[in-house]
Amino acid sequence: MVVLVVRRLIALIPLLLGVTVVLFVLTHLLPADPVRVALGQDATPEQVRAYREELQLNTPLWQQYIRYVGNLIRGDFGKSIISRRPVVQDLRAFFPATLELTLTSIIFSSVVAIPLGISAAVNRGRWVDRLAQILSLFTASMPVFWFGVLLQIIFYARSGWLPAADRLDADLTPPATITGMYTFDSLVAGDTAVFFNALKHLVLPALVLSNINLAILARITRSSMLDVLGEGYVVTARAKGLSERRVLYRHALENALVPIITIAGMRFGDLMAGAILTETIFSWPGIGRYAVFSIERIDYPALIGFAVVATLLYALVNLGVDIMYAVIDPRMRP
Protein backbone atom coordinates (compact mmCIF):
# COMPACT_ATOMS: atom_id res chain seq x y z
CA MET A 1 0.00 0.00 0.00
CA VAL A 2 2.67 2.46 1.03
CA VAL A 3 4.62 1.44 -2.05
CA LEU A 4 1.62 2.19 -4.22
CA VAL A 5 1.16 5.60 -2.72
CA VAL A 6 4.82 6.50 -2.92
CA ARG A 7 5.08 5.30 -6.51
CA ARG A 8 2.05 7.30 -7.52
CA LEU A 9 3.30 10.40 -5.77
CA ILE A 10 6.63 10.10 -7.56
CA ALA A 11 4.79 9.70 -10.85
CA LEU A 12 3.13 13.03 -10.14
CA ILE A 13 6.38 14.92 -10.50
CA PRO A 14 6.86 14.48 -14.27
CA LEU A 15 3.14 15.09 -14.69
CA LEU A 16 3.30 18.43 -12.93
CA LEU A 17 6.46 19.35 -14.79
CA GLY A 18 4.66 18.54 -18.03
CA VAL A 19 1.74 20.73 -17.06
CA THR A 20 4.02 23.65 -16.33
CA VAL A 21 5.98 23.19 -19.57
CA VAL A 22 2.86 23.04 -21.71
CA LEU A 23 1.29 26.10 -20.15
CA PHE A 24 4.55 27.99 -20.01
CA VAL A 25 5.09 27.48 -23.71
CA LEU A 26 1.46 28.17 -24.56
CA THR A 27 1.30 31.40 -22.64
CA HIS A 28 4.52 32.60 -24.21
CA LEU A 29 3.19 31.91 -27.69
CA LEU A 30 0.62 34.62 -27.18
CA PRO A 31 0.85 37.70 -29.31
CA ALA A 32 -0.03 39.80 -26.30
CA ASP A 33 2.11 40.69 -23.43
CA PRO A 34 0.96 40.43 -19.81
CA VAL A 35 3.13 43.40 -18.96
CA ARG A 36 0.96 45.62 -21.08
CA VAL A 37 -2.14 44.27 -19.42
CA ALA A 38 -0.66 45.09 -16.06
CA LEU A 39 0.43 48.57 -17.02
CA GLY A 40 -2.76 49.61 -18.74
CA GLN A 41 -3.75 50.85 -22.12
CA ASP A 42 -1.64 53.97 -22.20
CA ALA A 43 1.62 52.58 -20.94
CA THR A 44 4.60 54.03 -22.71
CA PRO A 45 7.28 51.79 -24.22
CA GLU A 46 9.67 52.79 -21.42
CA GLN A 47 7.19 51.69 -18.79
CA VAL A 48 6.77 48.39 -20.58
CA ARG A 49 10.52 47.94 -20.89
CA ALA A 50 11.10 48.73 -17.21
CA TYR A 51 8.53 46.21 -16.00
CA ARG A 52 9.78 43.56 -18.40
CA GLU A 53 13.23 44.00 -16.94
CA GLU A 54 11.89 43.82 -13.43
CA LEU A 55 10.23 40.50 -14.28
CA GLN A 56 13.32 39.32 -16.14
CA LEU A 57 11.23 38.63 -19.20
CA ASN A 58 14.04 39.51 -21.55
CA THR A 59 16.06 36.42 -20.77
CA PRO A 60 15.63 33.35 -23.00
CA LEU A 61 12.49 31.34 -22.42
CA TRP A 62 14.28 28.25 -21.12
CA GLN A 63 16.06 30.33 -18.50
CA GLN A 64 12.77 31.84 -17.41
CA TYR A 65 11.31 28.37 -17.20
CA ILE A 66 14.14 27.00 -15.13
CA ARG A 67 13.88 29.95 -12.80
CA TYR A 68 10.15 29.42 -12.53
CA VAL A 69 10.43 25.72 -11.79
CA GLY A 70 13.25 26.36 -9.35
CA ASN A 71 10.97 28.62 -7.38
CA LEU A 72 8.07 26.21 -7.74
CA ILE A 73 10.06 23.44 -6.11
CA ARG A 74 10.53 25.70 -3.14
CA GLY A 75 6.78 26.15 -3.06
CA ASP A 76 6.92 29.61 -4.57
CA PHE A 77 4.38 30.04 -7.35
CA GLY A 78 5.74 33.46 -8.13
CA LYS A 79 3.88 36.70 -8.22
CA SER A 80 0.94 37.58 -10.35
CA ILE A 81 2.10 39.84 -13.14
CA ILE A 82 -1.09 41.84 -12.93
CA SER A 83 -1.50 42.34 -9.21
CA ARG A 84 2.08 41.70 -8.01
CA ARG A 85 0.51 39.56 -5.33
CA PRO A 86 2.00 36.15 -4.58
CA VAL A 87 -0.03 33.60 -6.53
CA VAL A 88 -0.12 31.37 -3.46
CA GLN A 89 -2.13 34.02 -1.66
CA ASP A 90 -4.60 34.23 -4.51
CA LEU A 91 -4.99 30.48 -4.66
CA ARG A 92 -5.49 30.37 -0.94
CA ALA A 93 -8.16 33.04 -1.22
CA PHE A 94 -10.06 31.51 -4.13
CA PHE A 95 -9.61 27.79 -3.71
CA PRO A 96 -11.82 27.25 -0.64
CA ALA A 97 -14.77 28.83 -2.45
CA THR A 98 -14.44 26.35 -5.27
CA LEU A 99 -13.88 23.47 -2.91
CA GLU A 100 -16.98 24.39 -0.94
CA LEU A 101 -19.03 24.63 -4.09
CA THR A 102 -17.70 21.40 -5.54
CA LEU A 103 -18.15 19.43 -2.34
CA THR A 104 -21.70 20.69 -1.91
CA SER A 105 -22.45 19.74 -5.45
CA ILE A 106 -20.95 16.27 -5.02
CA ILE A 107 -22.99 15.71 -1.89
CA PHE A 108 -26.12 16.99 -3.53
CA SER A 109 -25.73 14.99 -6.70
CA SER A 110 -24.94 11.81 -4.75
CA VAL A 111 -27.95 12.24 -2.54
CA VAL A 112 -30.19 12.58 -5.57
CA ALA A 113 -28.46 10.34 -8.08
CA ILE A 114 -27.66 7.25 -6.02
CA PRO A 115 -31.21 6.54 -4.77
CA LEU A 116 -32.45 7.39 -8.24
CA GLY A 117 -30.04 4.92 -9.81
CA ILE A 118 -30.94 2.26 -7.27
CA SER A 119 -34.64 2.57 -7.81
CA ALA A 120 -34.07 2.56 -11.55
CA ALA A 121 -32.10 -0.66 -11.22
CA VAL A 122 -34.66 -2.27 -8.97
CA ASN A 123 -37.50 -1.22 -11.21
CA ARG A 124 -35.64 -1.96 -14.40
CA GLY A 125 -37.72 -1.33 -17.48
CA ARG A 126 -40.55 0.19 -15.53
CA TRP A 127 -41.59 3.84 -15.45
CA VAL A 128 -39.20 4.75 -12.62
CA ASP A 129 -36.34 3.51 -14.73
CA ARG A 130 -37.54 5.41 -17.72
CA LEU A 131 -38.11 8.55 -15.67
CA ALA A 132 -34.63 8.30 -14.22
CA GLN A 133 -33.20 7.89 -17.68
CA ILE A 134 -35.09 10.87 -19.07
CA LEU A 135 -34.25 12.97 -16.03
CA SER A 136 -30.57 12.22 -16.21
CA LEU A 137 -30.54 12.85 -19.95
CA PHE A 138 -32.38 16.04 -19.34
CA THR A 139 -29.80 17.36 -16.93
CA ALA A 140 -26.89 16.12 -19.02
CA SER A 141 -28.20 17.94 -22.06
CA MET A 142 -28.79 21.26 -20.36
CA PRO A 143 -26.07 23.79 -21.15
CA VAL A 144 -24.67 24.89 -17.80
CA PHE A 145 -24.65 28.57 -18.64
CA TRP A 146 -28.22 28.54 -19.89
CA PHE A 147 -29.52 26.60 -16.93
CA GLY A 148 -27.74 28.96 -14.55
CA VAL A 149 -29.32 32.05 -16.03
CA LEU A 150 -32.77 30.43 -15.96
CA LEU A 151 -32.38 29.57 -12.29
CA GLN A 152 -31.29 33.12 -11.48
CA ILE A 153 -34.39 34.49 -13.10
CA ILE A 154 -36.78 32.04 -11.46
CA PHE A 155 -35.37 31.82 -7.95
CA TYR A 156 -33.94 35.29 -7.54
CA ALA A 157 -35.41 37.89 -9.87
CA ARG A 158 -38.96 36.61 -9.91
CA SER A 159 -39.38 35.16 -6.45
CA GLY A 160 -36.50 36.48 -4.37
CA TRP A 161 -36.15 33.11 -2.65
CA LEU A 162 -32.46 32.59 -3.17
CA PRO A 163 -29.46 34.84 -3.81
CA ALA A 164 -28.07 34.90 -7.33
CA ALA A 165 -24.49 35.94 -6.77
CA ASP A 166 -21.56 35.82 -4.42
CA ARG A 167 -20.96 33.73 -1.29
CA LEU A 168 -22.54 35.93 1.34
CA ASP A 169 -24.82 38.95 1.61
CA ALA A 170 -22.76 42.12 1.51
CA ASP A 171 -23.78 43.23 4.98
CA LEU A 172 -22.44 40.08 6.57
CA THR A 173 -18.79 39.63 7.43
CA PRO A 174 -17.17 36.36 6.43
CA PRO A 175 -16.22 34.15 9.38
CA ALA A 176 -12.63 33.96 10.57
CA THR A 177 -10.71 31.81 8.15
CA ILE A 178 -10.09 28.24 9.21
CA THR A 179 -10.72 26.34 6.03
CA GLY A 180 -11.94 29.28 3.98
CA MET A 181 -15.23 27.45 3.45
CA TYR A 182 -17.81 29.82 4.87
CA THR A 183 -20.31 27.17 5.92
CA PHE A 184 -17.75 25.19 7.86
CA ASP A 185 -15.99 28.19 9.37
CA SER A 186 -19.20 29.85 10.49
CA LEU A 187 -20.36 26.65 12.16
CA VAL A 188 -17.10 26.44 14.04
CA ALA A 189 -17.48 30.09 15.02
CA GLY A 190 -21.05 29.37 16.06
CA ASP A 191 -22.40 32.08 13.78
CA THR A 192 -25.67 30.62 12.55
CA ALA A 193 -26.75 33.73 10.66
CA VAL A 194 -23.68 33.56 8.46
CA PHE A 195 -23.97 29.80 8.16
CA PHE A 196 -27.52 29.85 6.83
CA ASN A 197 -26.78 32.79 4.59
CA ALA A 198 -23.75 31.04 3.12
CA LEU A 199 -25.83 27.92 2.66
CA LYS A 200 -28.50 29.88 0.80
CA HIS A 201 -25.87 31.33 -1.47
CA LEU A 202 -24.62 27.84 -2.23
CA VAL A 203 -27.92 26.43 -3.41
CA LEU A 204 -28.20 27.72 -6.96
CA PRO A 205 -24.58 27.38 -8.06
CA ALA A 206 -24.33 23.95 -6.47
CA LEU A 207 -27.51 22.89 -8.21
CA VAL A 208 -26.15 24.01 -11.55
CA LEU A 209 -22.83 22.33 -10.97
CA SER A 210 -24.55 19.13 -9.87
CA ASN A 211 -26.12 18.93 -13.25
CA ILE A 212 -22.83 17.78 -14.62
CA ASN A 213 -22.50 14.81 -12.34
CA LEU A 214 -26.05 13.86 -11.67
CA ALA A 215 -26.69 12.03 -14.91
CA ILE A 216 -23.47 10.09 -14.92
CA LEU A 217 -23.80 9.10 -11.27
CA ALA A 218 -27.37 7.93 -11.66
CA ARG A 219 -26.47 5.92 -14.70
CA ILE A 220 -23.42 4.27 -13.22
CA THR A 221 -25.33 3.51 -10.03
CA ARG A 222 -28.03 1.87 -12.07
CA SER A 223 -25.71 -0.29 -14.13
CA SER A 224 -23.44 -1.37 -11.30
CA MET A 225 -26.45 -2.12 -9.13
CA LEU A 226 -27.79 -4.25 -11.94
CA ASP A 227 -24.52 -6.14 -12.01
CA VAL A 228 -24.48 -6.63 -8.28
CA LEU A 229 -28.14 -7.55 -7.89
CA GLY A 230 -27.59 -10.65 -9.95
CA GLU A 231 -24.73 -11.83 -7.71
CA GLY A 232 -25.00 -14.76 -5.39
CA TYR A 233 -24.61 -12.92 -2.12
CA VAL A 234 -27.51 -10.61 -2.86
CA VAL A 235 -29.68 -13.58 -3.67
CA THR A 236 -28.48 -15.20 -0.46
CA ALA A 237 -29.20 -12.09 1.55
CA ARG A 238 -32.66 -11.94 0.14
CA ALA A 239 -33.17 -15.61 0.83
CA LYS A 240 -32.13 -15.03 4.43
CA GLY A 241 -35.19 -12.86 4.66
CA LEU A 242 -33.38 -9.54 5.18
CA SER A 243 -35.47 -6.52 4.47
CA GLU A 244 -35.25 -5.28 0.90
CA ARG A 245 -33.95 -1.97 2.13
CA ARG A 246 -31.16 -3.66 4.03
CA VAL A 247 -30.32 -5.84 1.06
CA LEU A 248 -30.13 -2.87 -1.24
CA TYR A 249 -28.28 -0.42 0.91
CA ARG A 250 -26.08 -2.78 2.96
CA HIS A 251 -25.15 -5.56 0.65
CA ALA A 252 -25.74 -4.43 -2.87
CA LEU A 253 -24.81 -0.77 -2.69
CA GLU A 254 -21.63 -1.39 -0.77
CA ASN A 255 -20.39 -3.57 -3.57
CA ALA A 256 -21.72 -1.33 -6.30
CA LEU A 257 -19.99 1.63 -4.73
CA VAL A 258 -16.55 0.88 -6.12
CA PRO A 259 -17.34 1.67 -9.73
CA ILE A 260 -19.50 4.58 -8.64
CA ILE A 261 -16.63 6.14 -6.73
CA THR A 262 -14.21 5.45 -9.55
CA ILE A 263 -16.35 7.23 -12.04
CA ALA A 264 -17.01 10.07 -9.64
CA GLY A 265 -13.25 10.45 -9.22
CA MET A 266 -12.64 10.43 -12.93
CA ARG A 267 -15.29 13.06 -13.42
CA PHE A 268 -13.65 15.38 -10.98
CA GLY A 269 -11.86 17.19 -13.76
CA ASP A 270 -15.17 17.90 -15.44
CA LEU A 271 -16.44 19.33 -12.23
CA MET A 272 -13.56 21.81 -12.28
CA ALA A 273 -14.46 22.76 -15.84
CA GLY A 274 -18.09 23.13 -14.85
CA ALA A 275 -16.99 25.30 -11.98
CA ILE A 276 -15.47 27.76 -14.46
CA LEU A 277 -18.83 28.39 -16.08
CA THR A 278 -20.84 28.22 -12.88
CA GLU A 279 -18.56 30.64 -11.10
CA THR A 280 -18.71 33.06 -14.01
CA ILE A 281 -22.48 33.11 -13.98
CA PHE A 282 -22.93 33.28 -10.24
CA SER A 283 -20.06 35.67 -9.52
CA TRP A 284 -18.63 32.98 -7.30
CA PRO A 285 -15.16 34.04 -6.24
CA GLY A 286 -13.48 30.69 -6.84
CA ILE A 287 -10.42 29.53 -8.75
CA GLY A 288 -12.48 28.79 -11.86
CA ARG A 289 -13.26 32.44 -12.31
CA TYR A 290 -9.71 33.24 -11.28
CA ALA A 291 -8.50 31.02 -14.11
CA VAL A 292 -10.74 32.79 -16.60
CA PHE A 293 -9.38 36.17 -15.51
CA SER A 294 -5.84 34.91 -15.61
CA ILE A 295 -6.33 33.65 -19.15
CA GLU A 296 -7.91 36.91 -20.21
CA ARG A 297 -5.03 38.83 -18.74
CA ILE A 298 -2.37 36.31 -19.76
CA ASP A 299 -1.20 36.24 -16.20
CA TYR A 300 0.77 33.05 -16.64
CA PRO A 301 2.13 32.63 -13.10
CA ALA A 302 -1.48 32.76 -11.94
CA LEU A 303 -2.70 30.46 -14.70
CA ILE A 304 0.03 27.88 -14.13
CA GLY A 305 -0.59 28.11 -10.41
CA PHE A 306 -4.21 27.28 -11.03
CA ALA A 307 -3.37 24.44 -13.40
CA VAL A 308 -0.88 22.90 -10.97
CA VAL A 309 -3.44 22.97 -8.19
CA ALA A 310 -6.18 21.57 -10.43
CA THR A 311 -3.94 18.81 -11.71
CA LEU A 312 -2.69 17.97 -8.27
CA LEU A 313 -6.22 17.81 -6.96
CA TYR A 314 -7.33 15.62 -9.81
CA ALA A 315 -4.39 13.29 -9.35
CA LEU A 316 -4.89 13.10 -5.59
CA VAL A 317 -8.58 12.37 -5.95
CA ASN A 318 -7.75 9.53 -8.28
CA LEU A 319 -5.04 8.28 -5.97
CA GLY A 320 -7.61 8.32 -3.20
CA VAL A 321 -9.91 6.25 -5.35
CA ASP A 322 -7.15 3.74 -6.01
CA ILE A 323 -6.33 3.47 -2.35
CA MET A 324 -9.96 2.85 -1.61
CA TYR A 325 -9.92 0.18 -4.26
CA ALA A 326 -7.01 -1.49 -2.61
CA VAL A 327 -8.71 -1.36 0.75
CA ILE A 328 -11.98 -2.77 -0.52
CA ASP A 329 -10.57 -5.27 -2.96
CA PRO A 330 -7.36 -6.97 -1.80
CA ARG A 331 -6.67 -8.29 -5.29
CA MET A 332 -5.86 -4.77 -6.38
CA ARG A 333 -2.98 -4.51 -3.94
CA PRO A 334 0.40 -4.57 -5.56
Binding site: L23, L26, S141, V144, W146, G269, I276, T280
Partner: protein
Protein backbone atom coordinates in the same frame (compact mmCIF):
# COMPACT_ATOMS: atom_id res chain seq x y z
CA UNK B 1 -19.75 18.98 -18.69
CA UNK B 2 -19.30 15.59 -20.11
CA UNK B 3 -22.48 13.64 -20.35
CA UNK B 4 -23.23 10.06 -19.68
CA UNK B 5 -20.41 8.45 -21.55
CA UNK B 6 -19.29 4.91 -21.51
CA UNK B 7 -15.66 5.76 -21.85
CA UNK B 8 -14.70 3.69 -18.88
CA UNK B 9 -15.84 0.53 -20.40
CA UNK B 10 -13.30 -1.55 -22.10
CA UNK B 11 -11.29 -1.51 -18.91
CA UNK B 12 -13.11 -4.53 -17.72
CA UNK B 13 -15.95 -6.77 -18.66
CA UNK B 14 -16.14 -9.56 -21.17
CA UNK B 15 -15.26 -8.83 -24.72
CA UNK B 16 -17.86 -8.63 -27.35
CA UNK B 17 -17.90 -10.52 -30.53
CA UNK B 18 -18.56 -8.53 -33.67
CA UNK B 19 -22.15 -7.44 -33.60
CA UNK B 20 -24.28 -9.72 -35.70
CA UNK B 21 -26.64 -8.17 -38.17
CA UNK B 22 -29.53 -9.74 -36.38
CA UNK B 23 -28.88 -7.58 -33.36
CA UNK B 24 -28.90 -4.43 -35.43
CA UNK B 25 -32.24 -5.49 -36.78
CA UNK B 26 -33.45 -6.17 -33.30
CA UNK B 27 -32.15 -2.82 -32.19
CA UNK B 28 -33.94 -1.12 -35.00
CA UNK B 29 -37.17 -2.77 -34.12
CA UNK B 30 -36.62 -1.57 -30.59
CA UNK B 31 -36.23 1.96 -31.90
CA UNK B 32 -39.57 1.62 -33.55
CA UNK B 33 -41.12 0.37 -30.33
CA UNK B 34 -39.65 3.17 -28.25
CA UNK B 35 -41.21 6.49 -29.17
CA UNK B 36 -38.65 8.67 -27.36
CA UNK B 37 -35.73 7.17 -29.19
CA UNK B 38 -37.63 7.17 -32.43
CA UNK B 39 -38.28 10.85 -31.94
CA UNK B 40 -34.64 11.44 -31.10
CA UNK B 41 -33.61 9.62 -34.26
CA UNK B 42 -35.98 11.75 -36.31
CA UNK B 43 -34.62 14.90 -34.67
CA UNK B 44 -31.07 13.75 -35.41
CA UNK B 45 -31.84 13.13 -39.06
CA UNK B 46 -33.57 16.47 -39.26
CA UNK B 47 -30.61 18.23 -37.65
CA UNK B 48 -28.20 16.63 -40.08
CA UNK B 49 -30.37 17.73 -42.99
CA UNK B 50 -30.61 21.24 -41.57
CA UNK B 51 -26.87 21.35 -41.13
CA UNK B 52 -26.35 20.15 -44.69
CA UNK B 53 -28.76 22.51 -46.44
CA UNK B 54 -29.72 25.29 -44.03
CA UNK B 55 -30.83 27.57 -46.86
CA UNK B 56 -33.73 25.18 -47.50
CA UNK B 57 -35.29 26.06 -44.17
CA UNK B 58 -35.26 29.80 -44.12
CA UNK B 59 -35.42 32.63 -46.58
CA UNK B 60 -33.64 35.05 -44.27
CA UNK B 61 -29.98 35.82 -44.39
CA UNK B 62 -28.61 34.96 -40.94
CA UNK B 63 -26.08 37.81 -40.96
CA UNK B 64 -28.26 40.53 -42.48
CA UNK B 65 -28.55 43.40 -40.04
CA UNK B 66 -31.91 45.13 -39.84
CA UNK B 67 -31.94 48.25 -37.66
CA UNK B 68 -35.70 48.65 -37.98
CA UNK B 69 -36.67 45.41 -36.29
CA UNK B 70 -34.43 45.04 -33.29
CA UNK B 71 -35.46 42.63 -30.55
CA UNK B 72 -38.89 41.84 -31.89
CA UNK B 73 -40.72 38.99 -30.29
CA UNK B 74 -41.67 35.80 -32.09
CA UNK B 75 -44.18 36.50 -34.82
CA UNK B 76 -45.37 34.96 -38.01
CA UNK B 77 -42.61 36.67 -39.97
CA UNK B 78 -39.92 35.88 -37.42
CA UNK B 79 -40.78 32.64 -35.72
CA UNK B 80 -38.05 32.93 -33.10
CA UNK B 81 -38.08 36.73 -33.02
CA UNK B 82 -35.10 38.91 -33.86
CA UNK B 83 -31.87 39.70 -32.05
CA UNK B 84 -30.35 43.01 -30.98
CA UNK B 85 -29.24 43.72 -34.53
CA UNK B 86 -32.58 42.87 -36.05
CA UNK B 87 -31.39 39.56 -37.48
CA UNK B 88 -33.84 36.73 -37.79
CA UNK B 89 -33.16 34.36 -34.92
CA UNK B 90 -34.69 31.37 -36.62
CA UNK B 91 -32.31 31.81 -39.55
CA UNK B 92 -29.42 32.15 -37.14
CA UNK B 93 -30.39 29.04 -35.22
CA UNK B 94 -30.80 27.12 -38.49
CA UNK B 95 -27.43 28.21 -39.83
CA UNK B 96 -25.90 27.74 -36.40
CA UNK B 97 -26.73 24.03 -36.68
CA UNK B 98 -24.00 23.61 -39.23
CA UNK B 99 -21.46 25.39 -37.06
CA UNK B 100 -22.35 23.51 -33.91
CA UNK B 101 -22.93 20.02 -35.27
CA UNK B 102 -20.27 20.25 -37.94
CA UNK B 103 -17.64 21.50 -35.54
CA UNK B 104 -18.48 18.92 -32.95
CA UNK B 105 -18.51 16.02 -35.38
CA UNK B 106 -15.20 17.08 -36.88
CA UNK B 107 -13.59 17.55 -33.50
CA UNK B 108 -14.65 14.10 -32.37
CA UNK B 109 -13.67 12.52 -35.68
CA UNK B 110 -10.16 13.93 -35.61
CA UNK B 111 -9.74 13.34 -31.91
CA UNK B 112 -10.78 9.73 -32.41
CA UNK B 113 -8.48 9.23 -35.40
CA UNK B 114 -5.46 10.60 -33.61
CA UNK B 115 -6.36 8.92 -30.35
CA UNK B 116 -6.94 5.51 -31.88
CA UNK B 117 -3.72 5.69 -33.84
CA UNK B 118 -1.69 6.58 -30.78
CA UNK B 119 -3.57 4.23 -28.52
CA UNK B 120 -3.30 1.22 -30.79
CA UNK B 121 0.39 1.86 -31.42
CA UNK B 122 0.95 2.01 -27.68
CA UNK B 123 -1.17 -1.02 -26.98
CA UNK B 124 0.18 -3.13 -29.78
CA UNK B 125 3.75 -1.94 -29.64
CA UNK B 126 4.05 -2.19 -25.89
CA UNK B 127 7.29 -1.63 -24.03
CA UNK B 128 9.03 1.68 -24.28
CA UNK B 129 6.71 3.03 -26.97
CA UNK B 130 3.74 2.29 -24.77
CA UNK B 131 5.37 3.83 -21.74
CA UNK B 132 6.33 7.04 -23.56
CA UNK B 133 3.01 7.51 -25.33
CA UNK B 134 0.94 6.81 -22.29
CA UNK B 135 2.85 9.34 -20.18
CA UNK B 136 1.87 11.95 -22.74
CA UNK B 137 -1.69 10.70 -22.59
CA UNK B 138 -1.71 10.88 -18.80
CA UNK B 139 -0.44 14.41 -18.99
CA UNK B 140 -3.14 15.41 -21.38
CA UNK B 141 -5.83 13.65 -19.36
CA UNK B 142 -4.78 15.36 -16.18
CA UNK B 143 -5.82 18.76 -17.45
CA UNK B 144 -9.29 20.06 -16.89
CA UNK B 145 -10.51 19.95 -20.47
CA UNK B 146 -12.07 23.36 -20.67
CA UNK B 147 -9.11 25.10 -19.03
CA UNK B 148 -6.59 23.72 -21.47
CA UNK B 149 -8.89 24.46 -24.38
CA UNK B 150 -9.24 28.02 -23.12
CA UNK B 151 -5.50 28.43 -22.76
CA UNK B 152 -4.92 27.12 -26.26
CA UNK B 153 -7.56 29.33 -27.80
CA UNK B 154 -6.13 32.27 -25.91
CA UNK B 155 -2.72 31.42 -27.33
CA UNK B 156 -3.88 30.93 -30.89
CA UNK B 157 -6.51 33.64 -30.88
CA UNK B 158 -10.25 33.12 -30.85
CA UNK B 159 -12.09 31.68 -33.82
CA UNK B 160 -13.79 28.53 -34.92
CA UNK B 161 -10.72 26.85 -36.41
CA UNK B 162 -8.60 27.48 -33.34
CA UNK B 163 -11.36 26.35 -31.02
CA UNK B 164 -11.55 23.10 -32.98
CA UNK B 165 -7.79 22.63 -32.88
CA UNK B 166 -7.83 23.23 -29.15
CA UNK B 167 -10.60 20.71 -28.58
CA UNK B 168 -8.92 18.06 -30.70
CA UNK B 169 -5.73 18.70 -28.81
CA UNK B 170 -7.38 18.09 -25.46
CA UNK B 171 -9.66 15.28 -26.58
CA UNK B 172 -7.54 12.75 -28.43
CA UNK B 173 -6.02 11.36 -25.26
CA UNK B 174 -9.32 9.92 -24.08
CA UNK B 175 -9.52 7.87 -27.25
CA UNK B 176 -5.90 6.87 -26.96
CA UNK B 177 -6.48 5.47 -23.51
CA UNK B 178 -9.65 3.66 -24.52
CA UNK B 179 -8.13 2.28 -27.71
CA UNK B 180 -5.02 1.07 -25.90
CA UNK B 181 -7.09 -0.80 -23.35
CA UNK B 182 -9.15 -2.42 -26.06
CA UNK B 183 -6.13 -3.37 -28.14
CA UNK B 184 -4.44 -4.90 -25.10
CA UNK B 185 -7.45 -7.13 -24.54
CA UNK B 186 -8.01 -8.13 -28.13
CA UNK B 187 -4.30 -8.77 -28.70
CA UNK B 188 -4.35 -11.81 -26.47
CA UNK B 189 -7.34 -13.48 -28.07
CA UNK B 190 -7.16 -16.71 -30.04
CA UNK B 191 -7.88 -15.34 -33.47
CA UNK B 192 -5.07 -12.82 -33.13
CA UNK B 193 -2.68 -15.48 -31.96
CA UNK B 194 -3.82 -17.60 -34.85
CA UNK B 195 -3.21 -14.82 -37.33
CA UNK B 196 0.22 -14.27 -35.89
CA UNK B 197 0.97 -17.95 -36.17
CA UNK B 198 -0.07 -17.80 -39.80
CA UNK B 199 2.63 -15.19 -40.28
CA UNK B 200 0.55 -12.06 -40.77
CA UNK B 201 2.52 -8.84 -40.37
CA UNK B 202 2.03 -6.62 -37.34
CA UNK B 203 0.27 -3.90 -39.29
CA UNK B 204 -2.10 -6.36 -40.90
CA UNK B 205 -2.95 -7.88 -37.57
CA UNK B 206 -3.57 -4.51 -36.08
CA UNK B 207 -5.80 -3.22 -38.85
CA UNK B 208 -7.44 -6.44 -40.01
CA UNK B 209 -7.96 -8.25 -36.79
CA UNK B 210 -7.59 -6.06 -33.78
CA UNK B 211 -9.06 -2.66 -34.61
CA UNK B 212 -12.33 -3.89 -36.10
CA UNK B 213 -12.97 -5.62 -32.81
CA UNK B 214 -12.33 -2.45 -30.88
CA UNK B 215 -14.75 -0.51 -33.00
CA UNK B 216 -18.08 -0.80 -31.11
CA UNK B 217 -17.06 0.85 -27.85
CA UNK B 218 -15.23 3.55 -29.77
CA UNK B 219 -18.32 4.26 -31.82
CA UNK B 220 -20.45 4.52 -28.70
CA UNK B 221 -18.01 6.91 -27.13
CA UNK B 222 -17.79 8.98 -30.29
CA UNK B 223 -21.54 9.37 -30.61
CA UNK B 224 -21.91 10.43 -27.02
CA UNK B 225 -18.86 12.67 -27.30
CA UNK B 226 -20.42 14.65 -30.11
CA UNK B 227 -23.04 15.64 -27.60
CA UNK B 228 -20.32 16.73 -25.20
CA UNK B 229 -18.53 18.58 -27.98
CA UNK B 230 -21.66 20.55 -28.79
CA UNK B 231 -21.77 21.66 -25.17
CA UNK B 232 -18.07 22.42 -24.96
CA UNK B 233 -17.95 24.47 -28.17
CA UNK B 234 -20.99 26.33 -26.93
CA UNK B 235 -19.19 26.94 -23.64
CA UNK B 236 -16.13 28.26 -25.44
CA UNK B 237 -18.32 30.61 -27.44
CA UNK B 238 -20.06 31.58 -24.25
CA UNK B 239 -16.69 32.61 -22.84
CA UNK B 240 -15.98 34.58 -26.02
CA UNK B 241 -13.42 32.11 -27.35
CA UNK B 242 -15.42 30.41 -30.06
CA UNK B 243 -16.97 31.42 -33.31
CA UNK B 244 -16.28 34.97 -34.45
CA UNK B 245 -19.11 37.31 -35.39
CA UNK B 246 -21.15 37.60 -37.45
CA UNK B 247 -21.28 33.83 -38.04
CA UNK B 248 -24.22 32.36 -36.20
CA UNK B 249 -23.37 30.02 -33.39
CA UNK B 250 -25.60 28.75 -30.63
CA UNK B 251 -23.24 29.26 -27.72
CA UNK B 252 -22.39 32.76 -28.86
CA UNK B 253 -26.07 33.57 -29.28
CA UNK B 254 -26.89 32.45 -25.76
CA UNK B 255 -23.92 34.41 -24.49
CA UNK B 256 -24.95 37.59 -26.27
CA UNK B 257 -28.57 37.05 -25.52
CA UNK B 258 -28.39 36.35 -21.82
CA UNK B 259 -28.22 40.03 -20.96
CA UNK B 260 -31.48 40.49 -22.83
CA UNK B 261 -33.29 37.69 -21.08
CA UNK B 262 -35.50 39.97 -19.01
CA UNK B 263 -36.61 42.14 -21.91
CA UNK B 264 -36.36 39.75 -24.85
CA UNK B 265 -36.67 36.25 -23.45
CA UNK B 266 -36.66 34.69 -26.91
CA UNK B 267 -33.12 35.80 -27.70
CA UNK B 268 -31.19 33.45 -25.40
CA UNK B 269 -34.01 30.94 -25.10
CA UNK B 270 -34.23 29.56 -28.63
CA UNK B 271 -30.52 29.00 -29.18
CA UNK B 272 -30.39 27.48 -25.70
CA UNK B 273 -33.23 25.16 -26.61
CA UNK B 274 -31.44 24.26 -29.82
CA UNK B 275 -28.38 23.18 -27.87
CA UNK B 276 -30.54 21.31 -25.40
CA UNK B 277 -32.56 19.45 -28.02
CA UNK B 278 -29.48 18.54 -30.05
CA UNK B 279 -27.53 17.24 -27.10
CA UNK B 280 -30.53 15.33 -25.84
CA UNK B 281 -31.12 13.74 -29.23
CA UNK B 282 -27.45 12.82 -29.55
CA UNK B 283 -27.46 11.28 -26.11
CA UNK B 284 -30.57 9.26 -26.80
CA UNK B 285 -29.26 8.04 -30.11
CA UNK B 286 -25.90 7.28 -28.52
CA UNK B 287 -27.61 5.30 -25.79
CA UNK B 288 -29.51 3.33 -28.36
CA UNK B 289 -26.39 2.49 -30.28
CA UNK B 290 -24.80 1.37 -27.08
CA UNK B 291 -27.74 -0.77 -26.20
CA UNK B 292 -27.55 -2.39 -29.57
CA UNK B 293 -23.81 -2.98 -29.41
CA UNK B 294 -23.75 -3.91 -25.78
CA UNK B 295 -26.95 -5.51 -24.68
CA UNK B 296 -25.61 -6.28 -21.23
CA UNK B 297 -26.97 -3.10 -19.72
CA UNK B 298 -30.46 -3.25 -21.05
CA UNK B 299 -31.22 -6.91 -21.19
Amino acid sequence: MRSAVASERGKGGPLRKPVPAARWAKGLSWVVRDPTTALAAVVMVLLVVVAAVPQMFTTYDPVQINPGIRLEGPSHAHVFGTDHLGRDLFARVVFGTRTSLGTSALVVLFAALIGVTVGSLAGYGGGLVDEALMRVVDLSLAFPLLVLAMAIVAALGPGLRNAMLALIFVWWSQYARLARGLVLQVREREFVTAARALGASGVTILYRHILPNCFPPLLVKATLDIAVAVLVTASLSFLGLGVLPPDPDWGGMVSNGRTFILDAWWYPTFPGLAIFVTVMALNLVGDTIRDILDPRIRE
